[in-house]
């Protein structure tokens, strides 16, 4: 009987340690959702409260919920500033072949552009350019840096 309670205690200790360790790893990757960057470290602002960039998962160009929210803010901002034109720069991390990354960057920029257009921004006001892996915002070779580099950035042109 005492043996049984002892076992139970050990099991409980192990279980709580496991839960705690799971907590700590979750904290470490706090700026990542899957491998999409969710932090604010490299973000600039088109206007107060309007982030200029959205982030993507590895090899993907689909927009996350957070990205869509950001782009809706951009669309509102662009609707208010009717004379403003923008360029969307598409980027990829350094973990792909150069030529494919150019195409991927283009695809990401267009994903953002398409979303802005569905919110009533004329396609004529938005040009796109892809830099592939050529212009990393974070030059480090780490998963965090790569997630910050997988981005499309809306830049004012006039």
């Amino acid at each position: 009987m005492t043996l049984n309670t002892n076992l139970k205690n050990i099991f409980l200790v192990v279980f709580t340690t496991l839960i705690l360790s799971a907590c700590s790893t979750a904290k470490k990757s706090g700026d990542l959702d899957g491998d999409v960057y969710t932090g604010k470290e490299t973000v600039k602002y088109l206007a107060s409260g309007v982030p200029d960039r959205v982030f993507f998962a590895t090899n993907k160009s689909s927009l996350t919920t957070a990205s869509r929210a950001t782009l809706r803010k951009q669309a509102t901002f662009l609707r208010k500033n009717k004379k403003l034109n923008v360029t969307i720069e598409g980027h990829a991390d350094e973990r792909g072949t150069r030529e494919y990354n150019l195409a991927l960057g283009e695809r990401r920029a267009n994903a953002a552009r398409d979303y802005l257009m569905t919110y009533g921004i004329s396609g004529k006001r938005i040009s796109v350019i892809s830099y592939g892996k050529e212009k990393p915002v974070n030059p480090a070779s780490s998963p965090l840096a790569w997630s910050q580099n997988r981005r499309s950035v809306t830049v004012k042109v006039n």
């Binding site: 993907k60 160009s61 689909s62 927009l63 695809r107 994903a111 398409d114």
Partner: protein
């Protein structure tokens, strides 16, 4: 009572069996088999197995790995439809061309709507059962080809040792000597079966009286540059090696000797 009877019967029958079996053996023993032959046979299996054993293991490991890879496919959930049915045919076929154009040249009107769908971006690797089957077949084929090669080589070595008038240790000594002299031309294509046969006439001390490349006319034919390079390297090897390590006796047996230079296995690494 019955127990001891059974024991006794078993014991006796075993004894009888032993004598029956051992008697003919006792009779046979004086008949002498040439011991050299048996020694040679053992060495052959040694000789032929050792170099290929690591290779065979490698093949097995490779196929094992392949199988593992096939089971655990990194590529995510199978999608509903396969857009491109992958074909294992080496290259697009002339005959099929027209049909294929109709089938494969994607119609812009058909594709256009898809581009706008955001789900397009979420595309996952499509796992097609046909494709997996093709993969398995491919692996089998490769294995078979590899096995074939090994078998062929084993056979040829066995055949060779029987045909030769040298004992295996004598032959090995010669092989080992030439091994050191032959700089294999490393630039040769590894996937071409090149074989150069040189016929030598030797003096008693192992120096070369005459060397002749069988089918030497091939050397100067256009498109046979690799053959020529290999033949020249083989000639360099025997010249560098001379006097060849030949047995002290039996000159008549080895005064004419043919060396077959085949670098294929080595170039494959």
């Amino acid at each position: 009572m019955t127990k001891s009877l059974i024991y006794s019967i078993i014991f006796h029958s075993v004894m009888i069996l032993l004598t029956v079996l051992s008697l003919p053996f006792m009779i046979r023993e004086p008949v002498d088999l040439p011991p050299i032959v048996s020694v040679e046979l053992i060495q052959i299996s040694d000789k032929t197995n050792i170099p290929f054993a690591p290779k065979a293991r490698k093949i097995i490991e490779e196929t094992k790995k392949k199988e593992e890879e096939r089971v655990v496919s990194e590529q995510a959930p199978p999608a509903a439809k396969a857009k491109e049915k992958p074909d294992r045919i080496p290259l697009p076929d002339e005959d099929k061309e027209k049909k294929q154009i109709v089938k494969k040249k994607q119609n812009p009107e058909e594709i256009e709507p898809q581009i706008r769908q955001s789900s397009e971006f979420e595309k996952k690797e499509i796992v097609d059962t046909n494709q997996i089957a093709a993969l398995i077949d491919k692996a089998k084929e490769e294995e078979a080809v590899k096995r074939d090669k090994v078998d062929k080589l084993t056979q040829s070595s066995v055949k060779n040792s029987f045909a030769t008038g040298l004992t295996l240790s004598e032959e090995d000594a010669l092989r080992a000597q030439i091994f050191g002299c032959w700089s294999v031309p490393l630039g040769l294509p590894y996937d071409e079966d090149l074989l150069v046969r040189i016929k030598l006439q030797l003096k008693k001390d192992g120096t070369i009286m005459k060397s002749e490349i069988l089918d030497h006319q091939r050397m100067n034919k256009p498109g046979q540059k690799f053959y020529k390079v290999l033949a020249e390297s083989a000639l360099r090897a025997v010249r560098l090696c001379q006097p060849l390590k030949v047995p002290p006796t039996g000159y008549e047996k080895w005064k004419d000797i043919q060396l077959n230079f085949n670098p294929t296995e080595m170039l494959k690494g």
